[in-house]
């Protein structure tokens, strides 16, 4: 799950029509993983060399990333990795919480047995990541776990927005959650368990309650990190 994408200089020929897709996927992964710093400029020519393909498919990949808000294109100037929007964190938390609730509720009513199986598999993966203390995997699998629940709800309008929010959350968590802390993962694990149970039981009220609780938990976590960060900066700057 944590593939090393060091050098993409592929001497072997790539299949036609795979170009933009691979560039898009890899860049997206690196942006969400903070492998590329928010705000850092993206050099088209360098990507040209790295992926050994012309600028045309690379530009198309960047256009795609831009319309998802993952990069920002300054006309006639460089495109940069989207900076993390601290101004509107409150709006982010608000939307995230609502989408957590709505998607989990819908999942409880629309889920199939096959979907429950898949969700439980992801839950297991998360458990493994926790026991391995693999922060990177935890963040990524956590996102996939909730995205899978949302998909079981079947409403693509909600899932699209929710996935966008989860991705943004992934960057925020990645930013702060570099050192492992064992209290929270266990709490999340328990909440995940409750959530799956509610969805499996088709208990909408319970699903809603736990989704809200879980969302608030994550919001609190991020806010705590930010506060801590502020304090640190305050010490240094003032």
């Amino acid at each position: 799950m944590a593939e090393i994408i060091a050098t993409e200089a592929t001497p072997a020929k790539r299949r036609r029509g795979q170009g933009v897709g691979t560039v898009y996927e890899i860049l997206k992964h690196e942006i969400l993983d903070l492998t590329i710093q928010p705000g850092s400029p993206i050099d088209e020519v360098k990507l040209t060399e790295r992926f050994s393909m012309s600028r045309t498919p690379i530009r198309e990949a960047l256009v795609k990333l831009a319309s998802e808000g993952l990069v920002v294109t300054l006309p006639n100037r460089s495109t940069v990795v989207a900076p993390i929007d601290f101004q509107n964190l409150a709006h982010f938390f608000d939307a995230l919480t609502l989408m957590y609730r709505v998607t989990t509720r819908l999942a409880a009513t629309n889920r199939t047995e096959a979907e429950i199986v898949r969700i439980r598999q992801l839950q297991k993966s998360y458990e493994d990541a926790v026991s391995e203390k693999n922060v990177s995997a935890m963040i990524e699998v956590n996102r996939d776990f909730h995205a899978e629940i949302a998909r079981a709800g079947k409403n693509r309008y909600y899932t699209d927005l929710f996935e966008r929010l989860l991705d943004e959350g992934r960057r925020l968590l990645r930013l702060y959650y570099s050192s492992f802390n064992d209290e929270l993962p266990q709490l999340y694990l328990d909440e995940h368990e409750e959530m799956v149970q509610a969805v499996a039981d088709r208990d909408v009220a319970a699903a809603d309650r736990i989704a809200q609780q879980h969302a608030q938990q994550i919001v609190r976590q991020i806010q705590a990190y930010i506060t801590e960060d502020r304090r640190l900066n305050a010490d240094i700057q003032l």
Copy 2:
């Protein structure tokens, strides 16, 4: 507001960096206006001639439209205008109603005076469109009116989704609402008035109530058209 975009064969030179933008805007407008039929293929070469520019900027515009779901790209095959998704109308209505409520509520708390002025201007435009019995303008201005309210709420995650939903709704209304009917526009006008008042008064509860009511009104309208349409088809086919 209802410009005629007949021939884009611009002999005069276009400013650099304006290419993709114009193509994107014009195509988007035509797709939402049903000038281009849902499902109909998009010929890159024809667009090349029409806009008198090379395929590169046109493709970038199509990529942008694709990532907004307005066109669908079949790999190595043609890209087509996104078909209207009748399968998931229920999900569409659900999301639309929720976004109506959430954005109007937020507008009631976050709106500034300047925004109220702009909203009232759009309300006036809608009124004009109704008295002129200009269906096309009514549908378009109605969308802009609600989008403006949503923007006053300031949460970009909600506004982005809501605008996408309003656009999809625009296509649905355009599809059925070809002949003018004077009952509904007046009803909408009254509801709009109530909505603006609630937002201006910062009355969240009222805003929520009216938003929900208005959404359900629109949902009912579309559903009525679809039912009517089914009956018509039934007569012919069976």
